[in-house]
Amino acid sequence: MPRDTLSEVSDDALLLLFAQGDSDASRVLTARLLPRVYHQARRMLGDQSEAEDVAQDAMMRLWRMAPDWEQGGAKVTTWLYRVTANLCTDRLRKRRSTGLDDVEEPADPAPGAEQRLQTRARADALQQALDSLPERQRQAVVLRHIEGLSNPEIAEIMEISTEAVESLTARGKRALAAVFAGRRDELGIAEDD
């Protein structure tokens, strides 16, 4: 089936086409789903290389599961976010058990651009602050405030109640706010009135 036509097709129908050997279906699914998986892993792990590994692993699980996917059942994105979250949790636990907590070195920004420096500094500070949150809080904050998912969808992904999601995101945001409270000037965050 031509790729243009496939752009309107639902995720689970694309999975069926993929299982039937349609290679265009895998391209459309990759374009649609890989960024979500990669960004979630990137925020959860704070490490590009590990995020790439997790994203590749999650997508591999999707390809392998395609023939058994129940059409009209759970959303593909929900399933994929959950797989990614579990893979990230495994990595974080492994890190803790081996005592490694490598924080990626920030990339060198373009020289002379103060604005970009501050933007980069804020992004790095946010990532560090996210890294300092307990794992479940981090997951809820990333999915809610960066990936933009709804609370019921996050509840399904994390297999908890919507109220528990609200509680996790609220506590996570309070903790993040506390981290940023003392770094306003350093990060160029404007004072509002």
């Binding site: 997508m59 933007t119 706010a177």
Partner: protein, 120 residues
């Protein structure tokens, strides 16, 4: 506006900035994922498309063999109705108001054509 409100607003702005400025997916990662997809597709036989279920009588007690028996029994019953054995009353005649003895007499009359009389 309280300090807490200001703090929350600043954090929301930071999170929105983070959501807007997500890193691009590395091209090498996309290539690896597509290569994985191609490998998985080549490893297994192509899954069949949605199978249209053949209309089936499997829900009947006994399934197809049961249906065959039902057809045979219906044919046999019809034939018995058309040509009942001698031992059974002719229900058709009874229902149509003929005297059974009339039909018996007709049968009796037809079986000899008087030949029995000729033979003495």
């Amino acid at each position: 506006m309280t300090d807490q409100d200001r703090s929350t607003n600043r954090l929301d702005a930071l999170l929105q900035e983070a959501a807007r400025s997500q890193d691009d997916v590395p091209a090498a990662l996309t290539s690896r994922v597509l290569a994985d997809a191609a490998r998985v597709q080549s490893e297994r036989p192509v899954a069949p498309g949605p199978v249209r279920r053949r209309r089936s009588f499997s829900w009947l007690p006994g399934g197809w063999p049961g249906l065959g028996g039902l057809v045979a029994a219906t044919c046999a019953g019809f034939w018995i109705g058309v040509s009942p054995p001698d031992l059974l009353p002719d229900t058709g005649a009874v229902l149509l108001g003929y005297d059974v003895s009339e039909t018996a007499g007709f049968a009796g009359g037809a079986d000899g054509f008087g030949w029995d009389a000729e033979e003495g």
